[in-house]
């Protein structure tokens, strides 16, 4: 059983009020010399606003206390085991945080002359090379801000390439196990989505792809290993089937943590892929970002990559804007540079040998958990799993206990639950990805908790169905939040509720 963590004792559940609900008029945490001249009449009166009604008025300690107390209401990797499938919640190294905060990275402006930014450009250039090597592809753009933006960019590259050949095509094939961003990105790129089914082994058949594939299909989007944690073993034949009819293969690289030193996407017939630096390459999740979703392509798509490109002329690095075939920009400046700095530090920390070991241990940990749980929980597919394993709630459902209940009960044991109800092809999915940075003792603790819950489901189901009992808040009324959305604090409506 895990050690008690901050969130699981009732003592700390007293909620800090909203930042607007305390403080005092005129208070501020900001100081500046009063000798400063004002220039009120510099801007025409008609353009001036009234004061910002409702804005907080607190001192510095009040603010710090508020956010510190808020932080204590969160689970996080550094406090709890966080086995979210497909999210790769590995340790976020502190050396990366230190480096990203160097003034030479944090206090530089993107519009300064390139001569003054050679260190930054060198870092990005080298990061591109390293990602090329890991992926087995040929060129990289670091611009996309997240995996989903990487997907959109990749699809734009495909579209530009095919349009240049006079053969734009209208459709994208997406497996039923795909992450929701795959069809969403396809639509955003102006494509129609065709869904194909995985087979009974949880992977895609080359024959199914061949049947769905025609001269109107621009690309197939595939994840490998897929969202079931299974290696798409037919990938080479699948790529052939797509290429045979003039289409391209897009790989969603979200699960790259399983593949380093094992198999390179570039050798699987993949034409373009994205990687998630906040997954495989350890940059922090931040409660929902920032991340980075670089795209990697084969030679034939190089000219379409977003601008600017980073190029090396002799010993100098430069930004190349003049790329006539480029799809253009997907965001401002060069991307989430601070995230890229962290990923670079991580990659040089681990080196080739370290990255390969990371994947090996990720698989070892996932298979260990699978073996320990498969007598008490129904495994979704009896196939070799890679870095994650999926169970269903089939056994527990017969006792009236669902995946949701199991997840909520895990919170009482001090663990963040696995990913639940995804992918959709598995009923009541529980997707567990431990990552390589966890000790066997932590895994044992998690297994013990899961076994205890399985026992509770048999002997005290109500305890599970009404969980969580020890978190700062109990189950929240999401229907109410959706029916009558309250999306901001309002002065008149506020009343401190305990």
């Amino acid at each position: 059983m895990s050690e008690a963590s901050p969130g699981d004792r009732k003592v700390r559940t007293a909620a800090p009020g909203l930042i607007f609900e305390s403080g005092s008029p005129g208070r501020s945490g900001f100081c500046w010399p009063s000798a400063e001249v004002s220039a009120h009449d510099a801007i025409p009166k008609a353009l001036l606003r009234d004061e910002i009604a409702g804005f907080p008025e607190l001192g510095e300690l009040e603010v710090l206390r508020h956010f510190t107390r808020l932080s204590q209401r969160n689970f996080a990797i550094e406090s709890q085991f966080y086995p979210l499938g497909s999210c790769t919640m590995k340790y976020n190294p502190k050396i990366n945080e230190l480096a990203a905060r160097f003034p030479g990275f944090a206090e530089i402006h993107p519009l300064a002359p390139a001569d003054l930014l050679q260190g930054a450009l060198e870092l990005l250039y080298e990061l591109e090379r390293m990602l090329v090597e890991v992926s087995g592809m040929e060129h990289v753009s670091l611009q996309p801000s997240a995996g989903a933006q990487g997907e959109l960019t990749g699809l734009m590259l495909i579209r530009a390439y095919l349009s240049a050949r006079g053969d734009p095509r209208k459709k994208i094939i997406v497996p039923d196990t795909a992450h929701g961003t795959n069809p969403a990105s396809s639509t955003l790129c102006g494509y129609d989505v065709i869904q194909i089914a995985s087979n009974a082994q949880g992977v895609i058949d080359a024959a199914a792809v061949g049947k769905a594939m025609d001269s109107g299909v621009a690309a197939l989007m595939v994840t490998n290993p897929n969202t079931l944690g299974l290696f798409e073993k037919n990938i080479e034949a699948i790529s052939e089937a797509v290429h045979a009819k003039g289409g391209l293969v897009y790989l969603d690289g979200a699960n790259l943590n399983a593949l380093m030193g094992v198999a390179k996407p570039g050798h699987m017939g993949v034409d373009v892929l994205h990687m998630n630096l906040h997954k495989t390459f350890s940059t922090p999740h931040g409660g929902g970002g920032p991340g980075a979703g670089p795209v990697a392509v084969k030679e034939r798509l190089r000219d379409y990559l977003p601008v600017p490109r980073i190029v090396k002329q002799g010993q100098r690095f430069e930004l190349l804007e003049d790329c006539p075939k480029s799809v253009g920009r997907v965001r401002s400046f060069l991307g989430n540079f601070g995230v890229l700095v962290r990923a670079y530090a991580y990659m040089i920390s681990l080196g080739g040998d370290g990255l390969e070991e990371a994947s090996r241990m990720a698989l070892l940990n996932a298979n260990y958990i699978r073996r320990k749980l498969e007598k008490s929980y129904q495994i979704a597919y009896d196939e070799p799993c890679m870095h994650e394993c999926i169970f269903t709630d089939k056994i527990q459902h017969k006792l009236g206990v669902s995946t949701l209940d199991i997840a909520k009960r895990l919170l009482d044991y001090g663990f963040h639950p696995p990913t639940i109800y995804f992918p959709l092809v598995v009923s009541g999915a529980l997707m567990i990805e431990p990552t390589e940075t966890e000790t066997p003792e932590t895994l044992d603790g998690f297994v013990d908790a899961m076994l205890a819950i399985a026992r509770e489901a048999r002997e005290e189901p109500d305890l599970v169905k009404t969980a969580p009992h020890s978190t700062p808040v109990s189950r929240l009324d999401e229907a109410r939040a959706a029916r009558k959305p309250i999306l901001r604090w309002e002065p008149s409506a506020s009343s401190e509720r305990g």
Binding site: H66, R480, A481, L487
Partner: protein
């Protein structure tokens, strides 16, 4: 340096529990053809000390705003960040947590985002805000896409000001090109540096979907939103404003007060380091009636089983993980930690502090402008009202830039890289971080 804790004994014990002899066996189902070519040919890993040295070496090759004087804006701004901001976002409870899908153990992040949404509404004067998108440019693009979802199919013309940030215009075009049914027309700027409202009025008609302008615009000019709003209302087009310098909104009348339909922009100014242009975040706010068409995450207030107030992600059926191909956007991971930094920043400065900071910017910028015009050969660029950024003209741009560089000054961004017709123009930004003494040196360097 590795972070895998497994000892040889650990590995052996685990393999036995799995029923395997070697780790290699975990991969026996992977095609041999792929296994053979999979080696990662990168140098061996480094110790933490070696990493630190290498990173310092790279950092040392960059000019920072501390050792040089930057008068650069253009979408990224050098502002003071109180130390308390980093203290909060360095807390691992915030930085190493995931998107708050399990709200019972994510109340910290969720409440902070709810507070952020409120702060943006207050600052922008709009009715509802989301929890942030990637950056100002993609926020602008998402705003146009949202307008397309709301407006009927007969309205598919976008009127985009040429005075909107060039990179943002590029991103908007990139996003729209794939949808094929939207026409983007550029509206020129006039001698004051603002959007030519006469031309805009001539272009507005019943096919107009939306008008999108910077506020302030790329030249730092505060646009006449009254005239633009009136034109939009007459034509039935939506008004979208894009603010790259949101500190201006602490002093200048915000988009909501002018009746904007959607207010987007870049949040970096408010407590996020410049960091070579990212990560920061895009803010996105709109009128309440459009809320179900918004992209991005939304945090809502609710209660738990015991009536305690709590916060959850809500209206999730708009989003990719549920709506899939019919989603309002594809956004999944966003920029939450940067949004949190801004929330702390705005809370620290508060009502009076943020306004004071804005006033200092106005004072410094207008003072610098006055001195540059009077004491050097440089001429005024545009005549419109401005916050902390302005345009100046020089016939000897290269000479000016060189003189400044030898004094370790970057006096601004030459506009010729984006506007060929403005090859004698320099975009200058002055903030509270530019000391009086720096401005003095700027004046002397430019005077020559």
């Amino acid at each position: 340096m590795r972070y895998t804790p497994h000892t040889p004994a650990d590995k052996e014990r685990m393999l036995r529990a799995i029923g395997l002899e070697t780790i290699e066996e975990l991969y026996r189902h992977i095609p041999a053809s792929l296994r053979q070519q999979a080696r990662i040919e990168l140098p061996e890993g480094l110790t933490e000390l070696a990493v630190r040295r290498r990173m310092a070496e790279l950092a040392a090759k960059n000019a920072t705003a501390s050792d040089w004087s930057f008068f650069l804006g253009g979408g990224i701004y050098h502002h003071f960040i109180p130390s308390a901001v980093d203290a909060v976002i360095s807390r691992s409870e915030f930085s190493t947590s995931y998107t708050p899908y399990q709200p019972e153990v994510s109340q910290g992040t969720l409440q902070a985002l709810f507070e952020y949404q409120t702060l943006i509404c207050q600052l922008s004067g709009m009715e509802v805000s989301n929890a942030g998108v990637y950056d100002g440019a993609s926020a602008a693009a998402e705003a146009v896409l949202m307008s397309r979802r709301i407006q009927p199919a007969s309205r598919r013309r976008v009127l985009m000001s040429r005075a909107l940030h060039p990179q943002y215009r590029s991103v908007i075009s990139t996003y729209l090109r794939n949808l094929g049914d939207v026409q983007v027309d550029e509206v020129p700027f006039d001698a004051s540096g603002a959007t030519d409202t006469d031309q805009l009025t001539r272009e507005l008609n019943d096919q107009s979907m939306c008008v999108i302008v910077g506020y302030p615009n790329f030249f730092g000019v505060i646009e006449d939103l009254a005239a633009i709003r009136a034109g939009c209302s007459r034509a039935g087009a939506q008004l979208i404003t894009v603010t790259t310098e949101p500190l201006a909104l602490a002093l200048v009348k915000p988009p909501g007060a002018w009746g904007a339909d959607i207010a987007a922009g870049e949040g970096q100014s408010l407590g996020v380091p410049m960091s070579f242009g990212g990560p920061a975040y895009g803010f996105f706010a709109c009128q309440k009636k459009f809320v179900r068409n918004m992209p991005g995450r939304l945090v809502g207030e609710t209660v738990d089983t015991e009536g305690r107030r709590g916060f959850v992600l809500t209206l999730a059926t708009r989003e990719q993980h549920i709506r899939r191909e019919k989603a309002t956007s594809n956004i999944c991971t966003s920029q939450t930690l940067c949004v949190l930094a801004s929330t702390v920043f705005m809370s620290l400065l508060g009502k009076s502090g943020l306004r004071r900071l804005a006033e200092i910017n106005v004072a410094r910028a207008h003072e610098a402008y006055g001195r540059l015009i009077q004491q050097t050969g440089i001429r005024a660029g545009f005549g419109g009202p401005y916050f902390n950024e302005f345009v100046l003209r020089s016939d000897d741009m290269d000479g000016l830039l060189a003189r400044c560089a030898s004094g370790k000054i970057v006096p601004g961004a030459a506009l010729r890289q984006w506007y060929p017709e403005l090859k004698d123009c320099l975009l200058v930004c002055v903030t509270e971080m530019n000391e009086r003494e720096e401005i003095e040196r700027l004046v002397r360097s430019i005077a020559g």
